[in-house]
Symmetry: C2
Subunit: 128 residues, 2 copies
């Protein structure tokens, strides 16, 4: 069986790690961002590891579980990896919701860092 | 009223132009790609303007209409703009479907080019 392209290994490895951390102990996601990273969460913008972690830590649920239903990865001209994720999440006892998220990953000091992150609940596909 | 940040103007301008062209005469989308551009369409990969345009031209509908319900834009460390779009589309007489799409835009020779493009129907949020 042919090996997956390297960018797909990088992207899918990051995605697996990200949601595993998010679901078990999301304060550890700090390691994946730098002070230049950008997050847009449901249309609201945050820049830098501290602002991003303050936002992620303050999300109003005790437990969350993500299931990934589709993911795509591409290499970019600047040697980054772009990853798009579709999935479902369940927060506490709320109903299951669809979501989509995009990551841009850059190799900095031999580590793949998330420089850009955008998250939206899937309800935006159906709202006006 | 404060002006929008420049990357948001670039991203939202591209998005408006892209879907307008897609809905009226999608062969003209060729101008937005280069021979290094990547498209992942429903999980299938295409590289280069020719392969991308062959795919987009062969999509099996006569008419299509996109409605954008949410869009986010960010600047990237390599002076690109990343844009995530959520919306709905109606192809011919099919039922309305949700979709999500991501673009990475790079300024090449004073023109904003799409180097990376990923498209998925929103049904992937709900399938396994």
């Amino acid at each position: 069986m042919a090996e997956k392209p390297v960018w797909e290994q990088i992207g899918s490895g990051f995605v697996q790690h990200y949601y595993q951390q998010f679901d078990t102990d999301r304060v550890k996601l700090a390691d994946l961002y730098t002070d230049a990273s950008c997050l847009t969460w449901e249309g609201e913008g945050f820049q830098g590891k501290n602002a991003i972690m303050t936002k992620l830590s303050s999300l109003p649920f005790r437990s969350i579980q993500h299931i990934i239903t589709a993911q795509d990865h591409q290499p970019t001209p600047d040697s980054c990896v772009m990853s798009m994720v579709m999935g479902q999440l369940k927060a506490d006892e709320d109903q299951v919701m669809g979501f989509q998220q995009v990551f841009l990953l850059k190799n900095i000091d031999n580590k793949w860092i998330c420089t850009n992150d955008m998250f939206r609940l899937a309800l935006h596909n159906f709202g006006a």
